[in-house]
């Protein structure tokens, strides 16, 4: 009787290779719990990179310094993070600079009251740190520089932000960190369609809220709604 044993070799090998493949998949499933990296709500926020300005000098920014990896939902101790993507020459960013500053002062617990919500008592929720990632949009007239970022943040110098002096923008000088994203690296990685864009990040680095997905809600309202009370 004639039999073709060649097919058996391939079947046998195919089964063994598939078994090995599934062993690898089971190993991955049992040892990891992946969360998609991205900028939609529920995704893990990508790490922001670049030099950051804190009011006195530029230094290497490390976003992990702001995160608490072992944070659990409901824990009011962990510090949250608001990331603002802005362009110093974007008129909307210039106009909203005062509100961002007031929110930052209040939620970072630098002031006991909110400038535009005077009825609010001292913030008793978790500390919400603010970070601005300053980019340069590909629009004529939006050329920026580190000097301009400093001028925007500190309300100082002779730089021009959106056709007017940076020093004369609304609100007070900001006391949070500005990251140099003139090369748009962070903006592209975060898939930011335009400025200003805001992201509220949980202490464990998960995106809790984005302004693009919640256009009817302000950063202030989002923080009040989402962060746990002390």
């Amino acid at each position: 009787m004639k039999t073709n044993t060649e097919a058996d070799v391939r079947t046998d090998t195919g089964i063994k290779v598939m078994a090995l493949f599934f062993v690898a998949i089971i190993f991955l499933a049992l040892t990891t719990d992946p969360i998609k990296t991205g900028t939609k709500e529920g995704d893990r926020a990508p790490m922001l990179e670049g030099k950051a300005y804190n009011g006195s000098s530029w230094y290497e920014f490390d976003m992990s310094d702001y995160l608490t990896q072992n944070w659990t939902a409901g824990d009011a101790e962990g510090q949250w993070l608001v990331v603002e993507f802005m362009d110093t020459d974007c008129p909307f960013c210039v106009r909203s600079a005062d509100d961002v500053g007031y929110d930052a002062e209040y939620f970072m617990k630098l002031r006991p009251s909110h400038a535009t919500n005077p009825g609010m008592g001292p913030w008793d929720g978790p500390v919400v740190n603010f970070i601005a990632s300053a980019t340069e949009l590909d629009i004529p007239g939006h050329e920026t520089s580190r000097d301009e970022i400093e001028a925007f943040r500190d309300k100082s110098g002779d730089e021009v932000c959106a056709d007017s002096a940076c020093a004369e923008r609304a609100g007070q000088s900001h006391r949070f960190v500005y990251i140099d994203d003139i090369d748009q690296d962070n903006m592209k990685e975060w898939k930011v369609p335009g400025t200003p864009a805001y992201f509220l990040i949980q202490p464990d680095g998960i995106v809790a809220w984005t302004s693009t997905e919640n256009s009817q809600e302000t950063v202030f309202e989002a923080i009040m709604r989402i962060t746990p009370e002390a």
Binding site: E6, L20, F21, L28, T37, R44, S64, L67, Q69, G205
Partner: protein, 206 residues
């Protein structure tokens, strides 16, 4: 945490050994090993053994990169470093760590590719004289050839990030060695050396 350099060595050794067995330099090694494994004295058995080793290392390193990707997504640090060698920075970069068409992690693509190559090399190793063996070796060659522009794309990502993922590089090297292995197997068939005669001397001059 296991030392990442030790883990890297665990991939370098089989890939290096596999490459050695597929080259002229491996003839002496094959002779030495044939005391334990008599089949290794045959050039094509030695060649396929080397190819299987490299493919297996490529598969395991692909699993490892996918594991690192998953761990980074959990918020962990696996192999981050301030130097140019930092797989965390490469595999954790959402802009580059998935393929642009299906959005699959590169590690998963590596697993599938090396899994398919493993099927080819194992099948041919078991039945090297089968009618389909040469065709399968050609498939392997084309598959690894398709991997070349993909590797170029991934290297361009690393250049853009100014970081190198050492484990990804191991997978790239494994693919290139496999390409050589499949090409060399084709040459052996062409030159009539694809048999289990105790032919030690492959014509390397051509």
């Amino acid at each position: 945490m296991v030392n990442q350099n030790l883990l890297l060595l665990a991939y370098i050794v089989p890939i290096g050994l596999g490459t050695l067995l597929m080259t002229k330099a491996g003839q002496g090694l094959g002779k030495t090993l044939s005391g334990r494994q008599p089949l290794l004295k045959h050039a094509r058995r030695r060649h396929m053994f080397g190819l299987n080793l490299v493919v297996l290392a490529g598969f395991v390193v692909s699993v490892h990169t996918l594991w690192i990707s998953n761990k980074i997504s959990e918020g962990g640090n696996v192999c981050s470093s301030a130097t140019v060698f930092s797989c965390d920075d490469v595999l954790g970069n959402a802009q580059y760590n998935t393929d642009p068409v299906f959005g699959l992690p590169w590690g998963m693509i590596g697993m599938v590719a090396f899994g398919a190559l493993m099927f080819i090399t194992n099948s041919v190793s078991k039945e090297p004289d089968a009618l389909w063996a040469e065709k399968y070796l050609n498939y392997g060659k084309y598959m690894t050839l398709v991997g070349v522009p993909i590797i170029a794309l991934l290297i361009s990502y690393e250049v853009a990030m100014e970081k190198i993922c050492q484990f990804c590089t191991m997978a790239h090297i494994a693919n290139m060695v496999c390409l050589f292995g499949f090409w060399r197997a084709g040459k052996m068939i062409e030159e009539g050396q694809w048999n289990d005669d105790e032919a030690q001397g492959i014509n390397w001059k051509e």
